[in-house]
Amino acid sequence: MKKVINDPEQVVEEMLQGMIAAHPQYVRRVQGFNVLVRANSPVAGKVALVSGGGSGHEPSHGGFVGRGMLDGAVAGAVFTSPTPDQVYEAVKAVDGGKGVLLVIKNYTGDVMNFEMAAELASADGVQVDKVIVNDDVAVENSTWTVGRRGIAGTVFVHKIAGAKAETGAELAEVKRVAEKVIANVRSMGMALAPCTVPAAGKPSFVLAENEIEIGMGIHGEPGTHRETIRSADEIATHLAEKIFADNPLKAGDSVALMINGLGATPLMELYIVAHKVTALLAAKQVKLVKTFVGNYMTSLEMAGFSISVLKLDEELQKLLLAPADTPAFVQM
């Protein structure tokens, strides 16, 4: 394991300290907890958004704390859901009196820990509700599993529900919009190379020089299957078609597109993928409202990418294009 770290046990702590030292304009830490909230939290008269999960997905989620997106982000150990007490502290720190929406990625651990936190906060009289993001179409047979996973599409939920909350909307309204995003966003990923959890010290799987993993999650867990490496266009088409099959698009539809790097994939490769996917969308006569290319939901230093397509109606489009100002996502 070759990493720029000091101590595998301290990576989350030092990262959080680095984030607040780097971005005091945006975020502060809830003392004693692995929780980042907006520098000016709680914001009165606004529904607050809290998300989080295991660390190692940076800039998710701390990088998205700021105006127009999240109010708080909870950082668990690497790839491990944060505990309920941490989430509970986040909820308390951001509640501005209009309630708190938890944006949870659909993993057993995340769901259980966030739900336990919601129970604690509700008992305190805080209005708490939740949405569960499950955009990953790689997990097919969801009757036999705990359902699809939440991956990069979660960033669209942060962005759009965050913009809605900024309008002063009620909790139920913010939740409705978040659920609309969840209903309309689909993602799928692949990996060229694994990543290494610092405390584990070795890669979570091994791929041969000509092998790729299709249907990657974002926790170093294996994907749905392996295959021999193919061209960027073929891989991108394969992933995109799985997405289109799950959420068909017709001529005239509007979408937002995200080509998300998993951590070690250069922008050059992401743009080569973008080149293909935008062409596939153009061939369908789909209107591309905005494209995001970069590292939004990573898996430490995993090489690979995911594609997310969000179908937009007028409401979602307007909220997507609304301003945001966070350490890792700024939009005029």
Binding site: S81, T108, N113, V139, A199, A200, S204
Partner: protein
């Protein structure tokens, strides 16, 4: 006797920490390579917590503190599940100052209910329940035969071990391993394995106590 409970829990923690790497390796095959790390972090915190409970007479208070500590330090899926198990265990032995065979039976039963309530799994889904449920059954049959606590726990341990073997033969339909579909076949479940380790540590501890 609660000194004994505390010692037993420390013995469990030692075994979990000893098996940290192995549990993580099992989780890297069908999960996200953190189960051992999570559990070791949790039981390290439990060990520290127990220092402050040395004078505690109430078994329920000890179990509750362990549950709360696990919930706030383990994280992932196993944190809420084991944590809830201990909280429910506490509720099953209110005010008890001694934990004997019948109390342990009640604890196991409550733990199972807690894990099921929290995780919505049933036996056969390749989770810790596949070790814990047969273990409880074996414990009960041992008790029916009049075996001692140590004897019952030995039976429970062996049944849990068989449960772990059984998890190799089934496809996961709960937890992270479920995303793998058929690829989860042939691998033993990390959570079932940690349950087996816990029961083995308890069995060992009680045998030594009864013998010593």
């Amino acid at each position: 006797m609660n000194e004994c409970l505390i010692k037993a829990i420390r013995a469990v923690g030692e075994e979990i920490i000893k098996n940290k790497e192995w549990l993580t390796e099992l989780d890297s095959a069908i999960g996200d390579a953190d189960h051992g790390i999570n559990m070791a972090r949790g039981f390290t915190a439990v060990d520290a917590k127990l220092d402050s409970l040395l004078g505690e007479k109430d078994a329920a208070a000890v179990l509750k503190a362990v549950g709360m500590t696990l919930i706030s330090t383990v994280g992932g899926a196993s944190g809420p599940l084991y944590g809830t198990a201990f909280l429910r265990a506490a509720a099953a032995v209110p005010g008890k100052t001694a934990v004997g065979r019948d109390e342990v039976a009640a604890i196991l039963a409550a733990a199972i209910t807690g894990i099921k309530d929290r995780g919505k799994a049933v036996q056969g889904e390749k989770t810790m329940l596949d070790a814990l449920e047969p273990a409880y059954k074996a414990f009960e049959s041992g008790a029916a035969e009049g075996k001692t606590l140590a004897g019952c726990l030995a039976l429970a341990r062996d049944a849990a071990g068989q449960g772990v073997e059984y998890t190799k033969t089934i496809i996961a339909t709960k937890g992270r391993a479920s995303y793998l579909g058929e690829r989860s076949l042939g691998h033993q479940d990390p959570g079932a394995t940690s349950t087996h380790i816990i029961l083995a540590a308890l069995a060992d501890f009680c045998r030594n106590t009864e013998e010593g």
